[in-house]
């Protein structure tokens, strides 16, 4: 029973990170109908910027803020420079551009920061809390992870619900032409959407790096997990992305916790879950639009 609770707790923590990453994908999908496969590399880039600052003696929090700001800039630049020309074109072209970015940024990280494994610090402890006479798998770091993701989600909800910019962003995602006629600067809103998504993605990258080793390709499986989580939620719904992330986090945690040498199977499990969802309920669990068709 205690083992079950521990596996569940670590699944929920991981799930929060997948949820944040899935949310970043959903933000971009809603506004530009592009799945940003470069999200992982972009997040890895900002994580390495943070790591460089920390190694130069800055505090974790300064590094975190600089990394999030550089994520914002990176997202905006990427949208303006390379995504804008393929927006609204054939969907295959946008996918290929995103993949090109994915490879190019990852290689650039390796060239600039080196491709060795480097440990990334965490501001809080990695020891589990004491409950009764045993330690549970809930650590101060996992509380920090959950809290950080919740704060970011609350900020995003507030932005979209209560501000004029949020309204304009929703309008340009929902109906570009109408929004443009009503005076919304749609192009600027799309750039802002990419920038915000890159901030959320960067946060996910920084959180999953905490207390672990980072290397240029460390986000490769996270991009898959984020995509699976987003698909679970239907790719169109932010709430779905969060719930999808939590479900996926739990499922993968049970796979690696209850199957012998199951950690080797985590990626395969994600693949199986994705295939089952796409075949049984292609619209996702929280489909807000009609089922997609080829």
């Amino acid at each position: 029973m205690r083992y079950f609770i521990n596996v569940t707790l670590s699944g929920l923590t991981e799930g929060m990170i997948y949820a944040a990453f899935a949310l970043a994908l959903v933000l971009i999908w809603r506004s530009t109908r592009i799945v940003n496969f470069a999200q992982g590399s972009m997040a890895a880039a900002t994580t390495f910027i943070a790591l460089a600052l920390i190694q130069a003696g800055q505090s974790y929090w300064v590094a975190l803020i600089v990394a999030l700001i550089s994520g914002f800039v990176l997202g905006a630049v990427v949208e303006r420079v390379v995504i804008r020309p393929v927006e609204g074109g054939p969907e295959l072209n946008a996918v290929i551009v995103a993949l090109g970015l994915f490879v190019a940024i990852q290689a650039a990280i390796a060239i600039i920061f080196g491709s060795s494994f480097q440990s990334f610090p965490t501001p809080f402890g990695l020891e589990g809390f004491q409950v009764g006479d045993s330690r549970i798998a809930l650590t101060p770091t996992s509380l920090y992870v959950i809290g950080a993701v919740l704060v970011v989600m609350a900020l995003l909800v507030a932005l979209f619900r209560f501000t004029r910019v949020g309204l304009a962003m929703r309008a340009s995602a929902f109906g570009q032409e109408v929004a443009r006629l009503l005076g919304v600067k749609v192009g600027r809103m799309l750039t802002l959407g990419w920038a915000l998504a890159a901030v959320v993605g960067s946060l996910a990258g920084l959180l999953i790096a905490g207390g672990e080793f980072v290397y240029p390709a460390y986000m490769d499986s996270l991009i898959v997990f984020g995509f699976v989580a987003a698909i679970l939620g239907g790719l169109d719904s932010p709430v779905g992305a969060i719930v999808g992330g939590l479900i996926l986090g739990l499922a993968l945690s049970y796979v690696s916790g209850y199957i012998e040498r199951g950690s080797a199977l985590v990626n395969v499990a994600a693949l199986v879950i994705l295939m089952v969802v796409l075949l049984v309920r292609p619209g996702g669990i929280f489909a807000s639009s009609t089922a997609r068709r080829a």
């Binding site: 074109g89 054939p90 551009v97 490879v103 060239i111 080196g114 199977l265 693949l271």
Partner: protein, 392 residues
Amino acid sequence: MSDLQSSAPAAGKADRAGKASEDAPTTATAAANAPSAPASGGRTFLPRSTLLRHLLLVALGAVAAVVLLEITDPFTNSQLATLSYYAIAAGGLTVLTGMNGQISLGHGALMAVGAYTTALFLSADEPLPLPLILLASMVVATAVGALVGVAAARLHGPYLAGATLALAVGLPGLAIYFNEWLGGDQGLRVRAPRAPEWFESFISTVSGNPATNTKWLAYVGAICLLLTYFLLANLVRSRIGRTWRAVRDQDVAAELAGINLGAWRVLAFVVSAAAAGLAGGVLALVVRLAAPSGFTLVLSLSLLTAIVIGGLGSLLGALLGSALLVFLPPFVTDLGAGWGLDNTEAAQLAPFVYGVVLILAMIFAPAGVVGTLRMRWLSSRAKRSAASSSRG
């Protein structure tokens, strides 16, 4: 159908754009639509029959391969062997992506299936003959490809990309899980079969070069490459290829004409999976190792780079793109070393260039090298014929 489901204009625009139901066929694939140069008439030295023309090209290719392999040094021989397996896989992928409009980031995983199959069969005490082993690799990869294809047939664009991405990241994990059988992280060493005697006598009559094992494997690769391209080229020019193009460009019209979209999409996936399986088999022979580290996501993305640069849907483009994959890395690595980068950094320059080239190609020349040249040629010919008809 796709017109009905789009609610928001923005959504509809993006949803339909890939299928070009309202515009002309998409630029990325328009080049593949152009009839092959000889078939469209005009002055030509090639026979009019497709089969004869392709046979002639294969014969020319065989002569070129022998000449190329005999005048170059052993290192270039092994580079050409590498080129052959990249080109086989890229040929299959270009049929899938260029002809049928389905993207796959999972072909690296399908190559892994072929490579492990070859490695397992060769580890037997009395291994089967090599052609049978390569055939078995194709069959196993085809079976896996059929499974993936059934799922893939219902997806498009980013969904398909994501699903096959999960395949590329997930499948090598199986090799680690079944480590007694598939060798875990270390992978399986491959005992490449020795060159047969007729090959040695063939080489000594042709050039007198030593008939090394490297050379034998390069020949195996070249033979597989020529066979694959011959079969694929015929397939593309047949009723099957035309149906694939119909499914790609006008899915609603194709369905109304009685074409079962799903079945044809699965078929395209199966054909390209077979090519990937063969490529994996050749890879196992050439590299002499089948290990998870050989089938990373970068491999799948390199194949995609090859077909995009060469021009989607063109086998010649796939071959040129694969040549770039083989000969570009040493070139840029030297360049990087010249700039003062160390070895591991310089090794990353090649993927960096791939990524940048993918982006630039999609923005400035979506039809790729072969496609752009072909469109230039066709439009200039159209201008010429318009000019001559207006005069006459």
